[in-house]
C-alpha cells in the first residue's frame, strides 16, 4: 500500500510534479519529501496544499487559521462531494495510497482527513469521530436541561466539538440583561466544562478494566479565559475542546467557542477531575 521509497523513480517524480502542477511549491516539496522518506511529518503540508489548490481563492485565507484542523470541508471550505473526490484522488496519487468511498464519507473536517491519512500511512486503524445527536447527548450526560448547553457533538480521542443554539427561551435570558437577552460569559464557560464532561463519559479514556465514573466529575479551574463577542438568541455556538494533558484524576483541556467564524470565547485551560470505577472482568 505505502510507496516504497526505493521505488520512487525519477519518472515517478516527474509524474508527481506534473500531477501537482497547480499546487504551491511547498506542497510539491512536501509530496516529494514524503515519497522519498515516508515521513508522516510531511503530510500536513501535503494535505493542506492539495486542499488549497481546490478551494476558491476567496476562501483560501481560512486555511492559514490556527483552527485549520476544525474547518469543515463542506460547510467552511465550500467543497462539494465531487470536489472532495478530486482532492482525494490527487492525495492518493501524491501519497501513493487508496481511499475507499465509505472511508471518504466519514471525513468531515481537515483534521479528520489529516488523522485518516496519518493512520493510513502508519498502518494504524482509523476510527472516525463519534457523532452524538441530541438524544445521545441527553442519554450520556449527567447534566440535563434546563442546564445543558450541548445540542449535538462530535467526539474523537483528540478533540470534541459541539453546537448549542441559543433559542431565546432560556430562563436566565429573562434577567440577563433586562430587556436585552445576552448569553452570560460564565455560562459559555459552563458549556465548555460540560463538553469536557461529555468527553470523559463518552469512553475516550476507558479501557477493559476502567471506566470513567460519571458521578465523579468536577470542575476544578479555568485559566486564560477571554470573551470576545456578545452572543444572543439565534446564534449557534460552536464549542470545541482538545485535551492538553491527562493524568488521572486530572484532565486539562484547551478550548474555544465560536459563532460562525467569529471567536466568542477562548480558554487556555479548563481543568476537570475525574475518577474511574472498577469494572471487574466478567469471567
Amino acid at each position: 500500500m505505502n510507496p516504497d521509497p526505493a521505488t520512487f523513480s525519477p519518472e515517478a517524480e516527474t509524474q508527481l510534479r506534473e500531477s501537482l502542477r497547480r499546487c504551491s511549491p511547498e506542497t510539491v516539496m512536501a509530496a516529494v519529501a514524503y515519497r522519498r522518506t515516508r515521513d508522516p511529518q510531511c503530510l500536513p503540508a501535503l494535505i493542506g496544499g492539495v486542499f488549497e489548490r481546490y478551494i476558491e481563492p476567496e476562501i483560501r485565507p481560512k486555511l492559514a487559521s490556527a483552527n485549520r484542523d476544525d474547518l469543515r470541508v463542506i460547510e467552511d471550505l465550500g467543497i462539494d462531494s465531487l470536489t472532495l473526490m478530486e482532492i482525494v484522488m490527487l492525495l492518493e496519487e501524491a501519497g501513493g495510497l487508496t481511499i475507499a468511498n465509505d472511508e471518504l464519507r466519514q471525513l468531515r473536517t481537515l483534521g479528520d482527513i489529516r488523522t485518516f491519512v496519518d493512520c493510513r500511512v502508519r498502518g494504524l486503524p482509523y476510527s472516525p469521530p463519534a457523532r452524538l445527536d441530541h438524544e445521545a447527548v441527553l442519554a450520556a450526560m449527567p447534566v440535563q436541561p434546563p442546564f445543558l448547553f450541548i445540542d449535538e457533538a462530535v467526539i474523537s480521542k483528540t478533540s470534541i466539538s459541539a453546537t448549542y443554539r441559543i433559542t431565546g427561551e432560556e430562563v436566565f435570558l429573562q434577567g440577563h440583561f433586562k430587556g436585552n437577552p445576552v448569553m452570560p460569559g460564565s455560562l459559555m464557560l459552563e458549556a465548555l466544562g460540560q463538553l469536557g464532561v461529555l468527553y470523559l463519559v463518552s469512553g475516550q479514556l476507558d479501557d477493559a478494566n476502567h471506566k470513567v465514573d460519571s458521578g465523579s466529575l468536577l470542575f476544578t479551574s479555568a485559566d486564560g479565559v477571554r470573551c470576545h463577542r456578545v452572543c444572543r438568541p439565534g446564534d449557534t455556538l460552536s464549542l470545541r475542546l482538545k485535551p492538553k494533558r491527562i493524568k488521572a484524576p486530572i484532565i486539562v483541556f484547551e478550548g474555544d467557542v465560536r459563532v460562525g467564524s467569529d471567536k466568542a470565547v477562548g480558554a487556555e485551560e479548563i481543568t476537570l477531575t475525574f475518577g474511574f470505577k472498577e469494572t471487574p472482568p466478567t469471567a
Partner: protein, 420 residues
C-alpha cells in the same frame, strides 16, 4: 395553439463569436477556414478546418484552457466541461443577455433546454489513455460527464438551474435541428413557455478526422475554396466547431417581457431516407418528405418561401440529393426562391449545424438580408433550375426554410418567419 418565437441568440462560431460579427461575416461572405495546424502532419490528407477563434482548449484539463475575458467560469463549473460545452456555456451567456432574461426567467418549471453535441471524443480518448496508463481510479472524476453525448445539457442545466424539460438529441448532423423542432413542440403543446436550444461541437482533430477515411472531408488545402457547396469541383466538407444557442418563447412571455423577437418558428418536419447508413438518398426522398411535413405544419406553401438555407455540406452526393429534393418541393417556385449554403463560410459542424444555421436565418429575418452561397466558381449542373444566390442580397425574406440531414438518412426542415 401557442406561437413560438426566437428572442435571443448566442454564437461561438468560426465566422464570429457574437451576433454582430456573425452578421457581418454573412453579409460580406467572410469565411472561417484556415490551414489547421493539427492537420499539418504529412500522412493527414486533409489540411483545412474552420476552428473557433480566441479560445484554446489544448491542455488536458479545462483549467488549462483559455477563454475570452468576458466569460467567467468557476473551477467547479469548468471541471465538467468539454470544449463543446465550454463554447455552449459562452453562447448561452450571450443568448441570455440578448433575450434580456433574468435568473427567474431561466430557473422555473416552465423553462427547459434541449441540446445536441456528439460529446467529446478528444476528452474521452484522454480519459481512456489515463485509465490505461495510470489506472482506473486515476482518471478525472467528472471525465464521464464532460465527454459523453449529453455533456452540453448536463452542464448548462446544472449551471443555470434549469428546471423544465431537458434532454439531448443524437442524429449526427441533424441533431440540433431535431432539438429545435422538439423544443418548438414543447411550447406548442403548452408544456413549456420557454426553451433553450443548443447545438455544439468541439471542432478539433478528434471530431473532424474520423470523417476522413470515408472520404467525406475535402482534401483541398486552400482555405479559400475547400468548402464550396454546389460548385462542380466540390470534393467534401470542411470541419468546424463552436456553439449556437437560441431562446424560444411563447407569445405570452414575449408580451409580458416586452421583447422584440427575431423570428417566429412556424413549424417543422422530419423524415428518414430508409436507404443507407451514411449516404443520402439519391433523390433526396427523406429530405423532400421532411420539407413537405414542415410546410404543412407551418401552413405555408412554396409560394410563401423566399429563402432556403440548405444543408449542402460540399460533398458531391449530398448536395446533389438536396437539389433534387428542393426542385421536387418548390416546383414552379424553384427558380425564384433564393438558395444558399452558409457552410461555404462556416464549414460543417455536425450537431452544431441546425441550430447555427437557424440562428443565421433568424439574423437574416431580423436584419433583412439573405446570405449568399460563397466560393462557387462553376455552378454544378445538378443545380439547374434553382436560384442559388452567390452574393448576399440586401432584401428581407418573409419565410425561410433551414434544412439539416444526418447519418442514417435523418432529415429535418425548420420553417421560420419574419414577425409582422
Amino acid at each position: 395553439m401557442p406561437r413560438v418565437f426566437i428572442t435571443g441568440l448566442g454564437f461561438i462560431t468560426s465566422i464570429g463569436n457574437d451576433a454582430a460579427s456573425v452578421t457581418q461575416s454573412l453579409r460580406e461572405l467572410r469565411h472561417g477556414m484556415v490551414r489547421y495546424a493539427p492537420f499539418e502532419r504529412d500522412e493527414i490528407p486533409v489540411k483545412v478546418a474552420a476552428p473557433v477563434r480566441d479560445f484554446s482548449t489544448e491542455g488536458d484539463e479545462p483549467e488549462d484552457w483559455k477563454t475570452p475575458e468576458r466569460y467567467r467560469l468557476r473551477r467547479d463549473q469548468l471541471r465538467s466541461l468539454s470544449p463543446n460545452a465550454l463554447y455552449a456555456s459562452c453562447a448561452m451567456q450571450q443568448a441570455v443577455e440578448d433575450a434580456r432574461l433574468e435568473p427567474s426567467d431561466i430557473s422555473n418549471d416552465d423553462t427547459g433546454l434541449y441540446a445536441a453535441s456528439c460529446g467529446s471524443p478528444g476528452m474521452l480518448s484522454r480519459i481512456l489513455n489515463r485509465i490505461h496508463a495510470q489506472g482506473v481510479m486515476r482518471s478525472p472524476a467528472l471525465g464521464i460527464v464532460s465527454s459523453i453525448a449529453g455533456t452540453v445539457q448536463f452542464n448548462l442545466v446544472a449551471n443555470y438551474k434549469i428546471k423544465g424539460a431537458s434532454t439531448g438529441f443524437a442524429s449526427a448532423c441533424a441533431s440540433s435541428a431535431h432539438a429545435l423542432g422538439f423544443a418548438h413542440d414543447e411550447i406548442v403543446l403548452g408544456r413549456q413557455k420557454r426553451m433553450f436550444v443548443v447545438g455544439a461541437e468541439d471542432g478539433n482533430l478528434e471530431t473532424i478526422l474520423p470523417f476522413a477515411s470515408m472520404r467525406a472531408l475535402s482534401p483541398n488545402p486552400d482555405p479559400a475554396t475547400a468548402s464550396r457547396p454546389f460548385d462542380r469541383q466540390r470534393d467534401g466538407f470542411v470541419g468546424t466547431g463552436g456553439a449556437t444557442v437560441l431562446v424560444l418563447e411563447n407569445e405570452e412571455e414575449i408580451l409580458r417581457r416586452g421583447v422584440t423577437p427575431y423570428a417566429e418558428v412556424l413549424g417543422w418536419g422530419q423524415a428518414s431516407d430508409g436507404h443507407n447508413v451514411a449516404i443520402s438518398h439519391p433523390e433526396g426522398a427523406g429530405l423532400r418528405t421532411a420539407m413537405l411535413h414542415a410546410l404543412r405544419t407551418a401552413k405555408v406553401g412554396p409560394a410563401d418561401i423566399d429563402y432556403v438555407n440548405a444543408h449542402a455540406t460540399s460533398t458531391p452526393i449530398g448536395d446533389a440529393s438536396e437539389c433534387k429534393a428542393l426542385r421536387a418541393v418548390l416546383g414552379e417556385h424553384a427558380s425564384r426562391v433564393a438558395l444558399s449554403s452558409t457552410k461555404a463560410l462556416t464549414g460543417h459542424g455536425c450537431s452544431l449545424a441546425g441550430a447555427m444555421e437557424s440562428g443565421f436565418c433568424a439574423l437574416a429575418l431580423r436584419d433583412g438580408f439573405m446570405p449568399g452561397s460563397a466560393h462557387i466558381t462553376e455552378l454544378d449542373l445538378i443545380c439547374e433550375g434553382l436560384n442559388i444566390i452567390r452574393q448576399t442580397h440586401a432584401t428581407a425574406p418573409g419565410v425561410v426554410l433551414n434544412n439539416s440531414s444526418g447519418f442514417g438518412g435523418a432529415n429535418v426542415c425548420i420553417v421560420l418567419k419574419r414577425p409582422r
